[in-house]
C-alpha cells in the first residue's frame, strides 16, 4: 500500500494513499468528531461536524470525505474549526427537541457528547415548540423524530447494507423528515425490522423497546458471540446488565455478516416470553412436580438402560454438546438424530461473500425474506450492484420483486441453463428440496459456487459429530430422550412409554415429558457452532443460568457416569 506523508495537528503521519483525512487521523489515534459518518456506510459529508482546516484549501473541508495528498497539512481543532463545529451543534440543538435529560440515550448519545466537548452552554436560537409525531407502529422499536438530526445513517444503512430501501427523506429544508416508503407508518411499510438503522443511529431517535432506559454503555457488559437463530451464524454482541440481556447488536468485525442482523437475531430472543424451567421435574399422578437432580437423573438413567431408545437433539446445540450427546447415546445403542437438514451442494461449496462477486444468483426454493434473512440482504445488495436474480420458488417469494426471472420448479431447467452461461454464477439452495430439483442442478457442478442454506442452526456441527439429521417425527421407541434446550421443537410422542425432555422453557415438549431436565439457553453457555458454510464459530456465555440449571454437557456426562459408561 502506498503511503503519503501528511501532518495533522503537528503530528507527522504516514497515511494510506486514497484514504480520507478522517481515516488517516483515526488511524493515528486523533479524534475528529463525526455525526453523519459511519465506518460501515458510504461517506456522506453532510452534517459538517467533521470540518477541518486544510492548508492551501479555500474553505474548511469535511474530513470524512477529503482524500489525503502528499504534504497535506491539517488542523483539526483550530479556532475556525471549533467555531464552525459549535455553530453546527447550535443549529442542530435548535432544530428539534434535544432535552437530553429525558432521553434514553443520555450518556451514550453522540450529539450530546459533542455538546459537552464543545461547551454548548446556551441556546443562541429559539428552541422548537411544536412536537413531532412519534412513530410507534413497529413491534420492536420506535422512531422519535423529535430526536432526529437527519444525518441519514439509517437511510444509508437501509439502502446500502440491507438493500431494503424502506427509509428515505420526505419534504426538504427545515421540513425534512425521515420517512418509510411513500410516507406510511413504519409498521405498514416494507420494513423488515432488521434493526440495522437502530444500530447506526447516533442519537435517541431510533430506540428499541427493550433496551431503552435499561443501562448506559458504562453500565452494561458486552460479549462477542454467534447468533444461533439460523445456520448463517452471524457475529453478534450480546449487551447485558445484571444478568439480563438488554440488546443484541451485529458485530461489525464479523466476517460472516459484517454487522448485519435480522429480526430473528436482533429482537426475537429479547422478547422471548416463555416460562423458564428452573429445576428438574418429574411427572407424578399426571402432574410435573419439582425434584432434586439426583432423583431425576436416577430415574432417567434407569429408563435409558432399558431397551428401544431414541434420542433427538436440537441443532441449536453447540458442537461440544453434539459430541457428548453422540458418545452417550451411541454407547447406549439409541436411534439418534439431530433435528435439521443440509441443503444440497452438487458442486464446489461457496461462501456468502461470493454473492458480492456474482453476476447471476440462482436461488432455489429459499424465501430469503423469511429465513436466512441476512443472506437475503446480500442477494439484494448484489442485485442493486447489477447482478441478476433467478428465482426458482413459489409465486409469493419475498425476493420476487428483485428477480429478473422467477419460475416454478417445473421450469427450473431454463434458469439452470441460463446460469451456466454466466461468468460467476452462485447457487443458493434451500434444504429439503425435491429430489428432481436437486438433480436439475447437476449441470452447474464445476461451474457455479453453491451456497446451501441448512435448516437448523448447527446441522453441520451435528453431521460432524456423527449424528444423522432428521425432521424429528420419525423416531419411534419405548423411551424418547429429547435434548431441546431453548429450541421450539415439535416432536410427536409416537407411542413412547417414557419421554425425557432437556429443555429451557415450558412448552409442548415439557407438557408430554415424564421427566424434565432444566437446560441453559444459548446465551448462557459457551462452545462452538458450525455455520452453513462450514465455518466453526465461537458462542460465548453472556449470562449465568439460574441456580439450579446445569450446563447441558454436565448433565450428559453425569448420566454417562450413572450408567457406568466410560466416555
Amino acid at each position: 500500500m502506498t503511503k503519503v506523508q501528511i501532518t495533522i495537528d503537528g503530528q507527522k503521519i504516514a497515511a494510506e494513499a486514497g484514504s480520507t483525512v478522517l481515516e488517516a487521523a483515526r488511524e493515528a489515534g486523533l479524534d475528529i468528531p463525526t455525526l453523519c459518518h459511519h465506518p460501515a456506510l458510504s461517506n456522506w459529508g453532510a452534517c459538517r461536524i467533521c470540518l477541518v482546516e486544510i492548508e492551501r484549501q479555500r474553505a474548511l473541508q469535511t474530513a470524512c470525505t477529503f482524500p489525503v495528498t502528499e504534504g497535506m497539512v491539517v488542523h483539526t481543532e483550530s479556532e475556525k474549526v471549533v467555531a464552525a463545529r459549535k455553530f453546527v451543534l447550535q443549529l442542530l440543538f435548535s432544530e428539534r427537541n434535544h432535552y437530553c435529560m429525558y432521553c434514553q440515550m443520555s450518556g451514550d448519545c453522540e450529539l450530546q457528547s459533542l455538546a459537552y466537548r464543545y461547551g454548548l452552554t446556551e441556546w443562541p436560537y429559539p428552541r422548537p415548540v411544536e412536537p413531532l409525531a412519534v412513530d410507534a407502529t413497529r413491534q420492536y422499536f420506535v422512531m422519535d423524530h423529535n430526536r432526529c438530526i437527519l444525518c441519514r445513517r439509517c437511510v444509508r444503512a437501509c439502502a446500502e447494507l440491507v438493500a431494503n430501501h424502506t427509509l428515505g427523506v420526505r419534504e426538504r429544508g427545515i421540513h425534512s423528515m425521515i420517512t418509510a416508503d411513500l410516507n406510511v407508518p413504519m409498521g405498514e411499510s416494507s420494513c423488515i425490522q432488521c434493526g440495522t438503522c437502530l444500530q447506526v443511529c447516533p442519537t435517541g431517535a431510533l430506540m428499541d423497546l427493550k433496551s431503552a432506559y435499561r443501562g448506559r454503555e458504562t453500565q452494561v457488559e458486552r460479549t462477542r458471540s454467534t447468533c444461533v437463530g439460523c445456520s448463517i451464524g452471524c457475529g453478534i454482541e450480546l449487551v447485558s446488565r445484571a444478568n439480563h440481556l438488554v440488546r443484541i447488536e451485529g458485530d461489525w468485525d464479523a466476517e460472516v455478516n459484517k454487522g448485519l442482523l435480522c429480526v430473528v437475531g436482533r429482537f426475537e430472543p429479547l422478547f422471548d416470553d416463555r416460562q423458564r424451567v428452573t429445576q428438574p421435574l418429574v411427572r407424578r399422578r399426571g402432574l410435573l412436580e419439582p425434584c432434586e437432580w439426583d432423583e431425576a437423573l436416577g430415574l432417567v438413567a434407569e429408563k435409558l438402560s432399558g431397551d428401544s431408545l431414541a434420542a433427538l437433539i436440537t441443532t441449536r446445540a453447540t458442537n461440544e454438546t453434539m459430541t457428548q450427546f453422540g458418545r452417550l447415546f451411541r454407547s447406549l445403542g439409541a436411534e439418534m438424530a439431530a433435528v435439521g437438514s443440509l441443503a444440497p451442494a452438487p458442486g464446489a461449496e461457496g461462501r456468502l461473500t461470493d454473492l458480492a462477486e456474482a453476476d447471476v444468483i440462482l436461488v432455489v426454493g429459499a424465501d430469503l425474506k423469511k429465513d436466512h434473512q441476512v443472506a437475503g440482504a446480500f442477494v439484494r445488495r448484489a442485485v442493486d450492484r447489477g447482478a441478476r436474480l433467478a428465482l426458482v420458488a413459489d409465486a409469493d417469494n419475498g425476493l420476487a420483486s428483485y428477480a429478473t426471472w422467477h419460475v416454478g420448479f417445473d421450469q427450473m431447467d431454463s434458469l439452470v441453463g441460463m446460469a451456466a452461461q454466466a461468468s460467476r454464477p452462485v447457487v443458493v439452495c434451500a434444504a429439503d428440496l425435491p429430489a428432481e430439483a436437486e438433480a436439475a442442478l447437476a449441470p452447474l457442478a464445476g461451474k457455479a459456487s453453491f451456497l446451501g442454506l441448512s435448516r437448523g442452526s448447527n446441522s453441520r456441527g451435528a453431521v460432524a459429530a456423527g449424528l444423522p439429521l432428521s425432521r424429528g417425527g420419525e423416531a419411534s421407541a419405548r423411551v424418547l430422550y429429547i435434548l431441546a434446550e431453548d429450541d421450539r421443537l415439535h416432536i410427536p410422542r409416537n407411542g413412547a412409554g417414557f419421554v425425557v425432555a432437556q429443555a429451557s422453557y415450558v412448552g409442548p415438549l415439557t407438557d408430554m415429558a415424564d421427566v424434565v431436565l432444566p437446560a441453559p439457553i444459548w446465551a448462557e453457555q459457551s462452545g462452538h457452532v458450525t455455520n452453513t458454510e462450514g465455518r466453526v464459530q465461537s458462542v460465548q456465555a453472556a449470562l449465568t443460568p439460574p441456580e439450579n440449571v446445569w450446563p447441558t454437557v454436565k448433565v450428559l456426562k453425569t448420566l454417562a457416569g450413572r450408567l457406568n459408561l466410560a466416555l
Binding site: W44, A46, R48, A84, F87, V88, E95, Y125, R172, I174
Partner: protein, 423 residues
C-alpha cells in the same frame, strides 16, 4: 450603436420556434459545418479559443469543461442541457427554449459531437409548460429532418436527445443535483470531486451546460472563435442576455456584449426607474448574488469586474429596487426563497437559512432585539463556506450585502420596533 443581436436574433420573428423558420434563418448550418469540416478536437479548441464561459451562474470556461471529458471512444458519455432556470430574476433560458429551441439543439449536437457523446438529455424545470412542449416539438422535428438520430447529415455521427421534466426544486439547477434528479432520485447535490466530467449521469462522464451557453456554440462554429472573443471584455467574451426586472420602465431580456455598464442597461435599455424615482439597490446576477447600490452603477457587467467589487455576474438577472423598497423586507423575501429551496442535506443550510428567516422576520415585524444584526452576521458567517454545496454561500448574500450597504435601515427597524417604510 445598437448591438447586433446574436442569441436573440430570432425570438421576435413570428413562429421562430418552428424548424422551417429556423432553417430559413440559416439554422443548422453550424452543425453541418461542424460535422463535415471539423474534428471533435478542433471544436474543443475553437470553444476554448472563443473564451466562452458558462452562462448558468458559475462562469466556468466551457472549452475547458469540454476538454475534461475523457477522449476514449469506447466510453459511454452524456450531454445534459440544464433548463432548470430557477434563479429568481432570471428568465433568459425560458425565452430561448420557447422562442428558439432549435438553436439549443444545434448547440447540443455540436457539443455532443465534440465530446463523443451519443445520448443527450434535456432537464427542464417542471413549471415551463410551454417550454416543455416547444422542446419536444423541436426535438421531433429535428429527428424528422435528420438533425438528430442516426447518421446525422450523413456524417456517421449518431445522437439521441430527450426531455425530462423536473418536479420543482431550485437545487436541481446545481448540476450534480440535476443528475440525481435525472436518474430518478431525490434532487440533492453530490459530493465533488468526482466532477460530472468523470462521474456524471449514471456514473458516466457527462457534460452539463446551461441553455444560453449551448446557444452560443453554433455562432462560434459559424463565425469563428476570434469573432466571438472580439465581443465583450478580455475575460468575459461574447454576448450575454441580461434579464432586467423590478422597478424599471421596460423590464425584459436585453442581449448586449459582456462588459456593458450596469447603468447603460438599466437607464438606456430598460428605460430607467419608474416615475423617475431613485435607484436604491440592484441585484446584478440573480438572487444569489450580493446586491449593489447606486454608487456601483458604472461597473461593467462582466465576470471579473463584478467579482472585483464583491459580487458576481451570476445568470445576468438584474433586479432593480427603487427608493420605496424596504431592504429588510427584500432580504427577508430573498432569504425565505433560499430556506424554502434548501434540500435539507447539510446542517448549516437546512437549519441556518431558517434561522436567518426567523431573525429577519422578527426585525421586519418590529420585534427585533439589540444584537440581532450581529446574530444575522454570525449566522451568515456560520453558513457561508461551510455548506455541502454552493447554495449556502448564495443564501447568505441577500442578508450580508443588505447589511453591508443598509445597516442603518436595520438599526431603525430595531430601534423603532417597526418597519419605517410601511405606513
Amino acid at each position: 450603436m445598437t448591438f447586433e443581436k446574436i442569441l436573440l436574433r430570432n425570438v421576435e420573428i413570428p413562429n421562430s420556434e418552428k424548424i422551417d423558420v429556423y432553417l430559413k434563418r440559416g439554422g443548422y448550418q453550424a452543425l453541418r459545418k461542424a460535422l463535415h469540416e471539423h474534428t471533435p478536437d478542433e471544436l474543443v479548441e475553437m470553444v476554448k479559443a472563443s473564451g466562452l464561459r458558462g452562462r448558468g451562474g458559475a462562469g466556468f470556461p466551457a472549452g475547458l469543461k469540454w476538454s475534461f471529458m475523457p477522449k476514449a471512444a469506447d466510453v459511454t458519455k452524456y450531454v445534459c442541457v440544464n433548463t432548470d432556470e430557477g434563479e429568481p430574476g432570471t428568465f433568459k433560458d425560458r425565452l430561448l427554449v420557447e422562442r428558439d429551441p432549435h438553436s439549443i439543439i444545434e448547440g447540443v449536437a455540436i457539443a455532443a459531437y465534440a465530446v463523443g457523446a451519443h445520448r443527450a438529455f434535456v432537464y427542464i424545470r417542471g413549471e415551463f409548460f410551454t417550454g416543455v412542449k416547444r422542446w419536444m416539438k423541436a426535438i421531433d422535428d429535428a429527428y424528422a429532418r435528420g438533425f438528430l438520430g442516426a447518421n446525422i447529415l450523413g456524417s456517421g455521427f449518431d445522437l439521441d436527445l430527450s426531455v425530462h421534466r423536473g418536479a420543482g426544486a431550485y437545487i436541481c439547477g446545481e448540476e450534480t443535483a440535476m443528475l440525481e434528479s435525472l436518474e430518478g432520485k431525490r434532487g440533492e447535490p453530490r459530493l465533488k470531486p468526482p466532477y460530472p466530467a468523470q462521474v456524471g449521469l449514471y456514473a458516466r462522464p457527462t457534460l452539463v451546460h446551461n441553455v444560453e451557453t449551448l446557444a452560443c456554440v453554433p455562432h462560434i462554429v459559424l463565425r469563428g472563435p476570434e469573432w466571438f472573443a472580439s465581443i465583450g471584455t478580455e475575460d468575459s467574451t461574447g454576448p450575454k442576455i441580461f434579464c432586467v426586472s423590478g422597478d424599471v420602465n421596460r423590464p425584459g431580456n436585453y442581449e448586449l456584449p459582456l462588459g456593458t455598464p450596469l447603468r447603460e442597461i438599466i437607464y438606456e435599455h430598460a428605460g430607467g426607474i419608474k416615475e423617475g424615482r431613485q435607484l436604491k439597490a440592484v441585484i446584478p446576477g440573480g438572487a444569489s448574488t450580493p446586491m449593489l447600490t447606486a454608487e456601483h452603477l458604472d461597473v461593467p457587467m462582466a465576470f471579473e469586474t463584478l467579482h472585483a467589487i464583491g459580487t458576481m455576474l451570476g445568470t445576468g438577472g438584474i433586479t432593480v429596487m427603487d427608493e420605496r423598497v424596504c431592504i429588510v423586507s427584500a432580504a427577508l423575501r430573498l432569504t425565505r426563497f433560499f430556506a424554502h429551496e434548501s434540500c435539507g442535506k447539510c446542517t448549516p443550510c437546512r437549519v441556518g437559512t431558517q434561522r436567518l428567516v426567523d431573525t429577519l422576520q422578527r426585525i421586519e415585524d418590529g420585534r427585533g432585539q439589540q444584537g440581532d444584526i450581529e446574530r444575522l452576521l454570525s449566522l451568515c458567517d456560520g453558513i457561508a463556506g461551510h455548506t455541502f454545496c454552493p447554495m449556502g454561500d448564495a443564501a447568505v448574500n441577500p442578508t450580508l450585502s443588505s447589511i453591508k450597504h443598509f445597516r442603518h435601515e436595520y438599526e431603525v427597524h430595531i430601534e423603532r420596533h417597526r418597519c419605517p417604510m410601511s405606513s
